[in-house]
Symmetry: C2
Subunit: 414 residues, 2 copies
């Protein structure tokens, strides 16, 4: 088995010199065990925000190429400091920019995609016994311009390096112990999972509950990289994100989530014509408004009044985006000469995620029954192969979350 | 004639967003005149010091490779911000690290020498009409490691780029108007020079009086790059540093300087044997102690006592280095079994520099006479082809400086 281990530490873990020293000690403990280590680091604490503020003083709309040039310095600072901290405790280490270890991306500044990694330099340094500290979040394009990978970029760097180096696994250190069955702040009986599949992790990430960004999980799934989510505050085992085939016992539901910052928008009485729904979601997508649950219903044509059949489309979106969404849809209503828009922020979305749903029947039914038995009305339903989401009244959100956590046997003591 | 102009702005000129905007406006004025511009920038104000402090919190003796990785971010930040400021005023601009424009150095981290510059990328960007903003002070070695050039590094970057691109000239912007006949803070009648030769500039730099670091001047001399020292606070002509052959009227003395932070160290009664002086200056050089004036005198052998002939070597060195120098020389005294060391900090060194000395006789005599006529005793003398230095009592330093400035016709009204 590979002796190469990729470890990733976020900005909080390297937020000040004392924490950098602590990370160095952890790295040393793995180095002493004989692992060949590639360590990916984010920018220290608030560095990136400080650099963004600095740029804002120069330009309200700086060119993305120059922003990437600026922001990439944050990681370059933290990798060099971590290498120094390792030298202090006599661990041979060298820091590298994304460009220096040949992380080549497309030229889409501020949101670049990794296209290739040439591991020649890293392999040579590892063979010399060096711990390689690599700046996360960055790469270079074909023309040597510095690019950044956008949100969750350092996780993606770590997973991509693990894939390219065929590493044993990719450890992602965070401020939590691992992935939980639900938010431990909301449900006391939340339990840490030992394993979770890529697809479940992706669903949880899209529900805002994952500790990992979707892009890094997608990357890991594609290249079958084992991600190990661990706490940077202790040495206990965390949660491994693995392919479905590696999970021994498939439990029906792995996690349940609650989203309370979404609103429901209803676009009623719109023409029953092909392309209407497509138009609505295209203009919202153009504004990068995140839509979650979508439900469409139709009215029957009314023979007595001679009115045509009309449609109603309801969907959930972040409360913060309601005003912009209304403004964006108004021209469509005007064009169609029909329809009216309303919004309701008093909702919550409770979801259950689990690959076991594929083979277990009746999961949705159990969820609906549990809610009904407790007097919680379901306003909208959306399902995928491994997820069921119900829109309910906001004031029943936490009740519903605890209830479903218990119903699917996720409580700590069960 | 080349339309390419290299401009270099120091850390003070880009110390905050407002100053960066001001530099951008100046660049625009040259861009509008049709110049192809390559702009070299140092790190903003205190950035480098802040990064050094940060490293010191991690390690008392960080590896030089990692220090270069860390410090090079300072220039990367300022170039990206300056490029943004140019975009704001609709000047097309792109920022580059040293590595991106192929400034290849040796692998001597923290004090690297430029070995080659491949101008392909820069030429291509200039041809596209881009103003190229290049990070000063940095390069990469053969293995893509980031290196820094040490003190005065950004000036060296600018001159090297001007040489490689065969630029019209290399403008170095500073907080003074140009090169003066002497320090205007000490002599009211100091006059700005229109021109000065490389060799004179080098002598002034070694006397601590130059606005340019020796390395950049040496580089300019080697490749015959015209350096134009200008103020970043106004648009007036500065001083051009050119080859001797380009200077029309050769004035005898170009500049006079006063150094008041040196001490004289005397090593007396040492053996009159070959190699003794060499040993002394070798151990001092090993400690990187800067020696300026050196004088050796011999005692006659004393037949009555039978004592051998002995030597006395006196030299000037920074007051701050006296203790270290004594400690360094003590083992030699012990080895020889003879000699004693004393130091005197109550001295000043007054110097006159000028290529005209080569052809004018009597320059030294005029200087000695002027000092003698004013009751200033000369304690040591050192001369080179284009420089005369006299060690005098510290309390007469300023008098001597003004006097010599007048004697050689450098006063503003003469």
């Amino acid at each position: 088995m590979s002796k190469i281990l990729v470890q990733k530490f976020g900005g909080t873990s390297v937020g000040d010199p004392e924490r950098i020293r602590r990370v160095a000690n952890r790295i040393k403990s793995y180095h002493d065990k004989g692992y060949q280590l590639v360590v990916v680091v984010s920018a220290m604490g608030d560095t990136t925000d400080d650099l963004i503020d600095l740029a804002a003083k120069i330009s309200a709309n700086p060119p993305k190429r120059e922003m990437d040039m600026l922001l990439s310095t944050g990681e370059q600072i933290s990798v060099s400091l971590l290498a120094m901290a390792l030298h202090e405790i006599h661990v041979p280490a060298r820091s590298f920019t994304g460009g220096q270890v040949h992380i080549v991306t497309d030229g889409n500044f501020s949101n670049a995609r990794i296209e290739s990694i040439d591991t020649k330099r890293l392999s040579a340094e590892l063979d010399k016994g060096q711990v390689c500290i690599v700046a996360g979040f960055q790469g270079i394009d074909q023309n040597q311009n510095i690019t950044t990978l956008g949100r969750g970029g350092s996780d993606t760097t770590a997973v991509a390096l693990a894939a390219a180096l065929k590493a044993k696994e990719c450890e992602i250190y965070t401020d939590v112990d691992g992935v939980y069955t639900t938010d431990p702040n909301k449900v006391e009986k939340a339990r840490k999972l030992d394993q979770i599949s890529y697809d479940e992790m992706l669903e949880l990430a899209s529900l805002g509950a994952g500790v990992l960004h979707s892009r890094s999980v997608e990357f890991a799934k594609k290249y079958e990289v084992i991600i190990h989510v661990k706490s940077s505050f202790n040495y206990s085992e965390g949660t491994k994100v693995v392919s479905e085939s590696q999970i021994m016992e498939k439990i029906t539901v792995t996690g349940v989530t609650l989203k309370s910052d979404d609103a429901r928008m209803t676009v009623a009485d719109i023409p029953d014509k092909p392309g209407v729904a497509a138009e609505i979601f295209q203009v919202l997508a153009d504004k990068k408004i995140n839509i979650d649950v979508i439900v469409q219903s139709s009215s029957r044509p009314d023979r007595s009044t001679g009115k045509d059949r009309t449609n109603t489309i309801a969907f959930t979106l972040p409360i913060a985006a309601v005003a912009e969404a209304k403004e964006t849809l108004q021209p469509l209503i005007a064009k169609w000469g029909a329809g009216n828009i309303s919004a309701d922020a008093n909702i919550a979305i409770v979801s259950a995620v689990g690959v076991g749903m594929k083979s277990h029947t009746g999961v949705a039914a159990s969820m609906f029954k549990a809610l009904a038995d407790n007097g919680i009305n379901i306003e909208m339903i959306s399902t995928s192969e491994i997820k069921i989401s119900c829109v309910i009244a906001k004031d029943r959100g936490k009740d519903a979350l605890r209830l479903i956590h218990t119903v699917f046997g996720l409580d700590k003591d069960s």
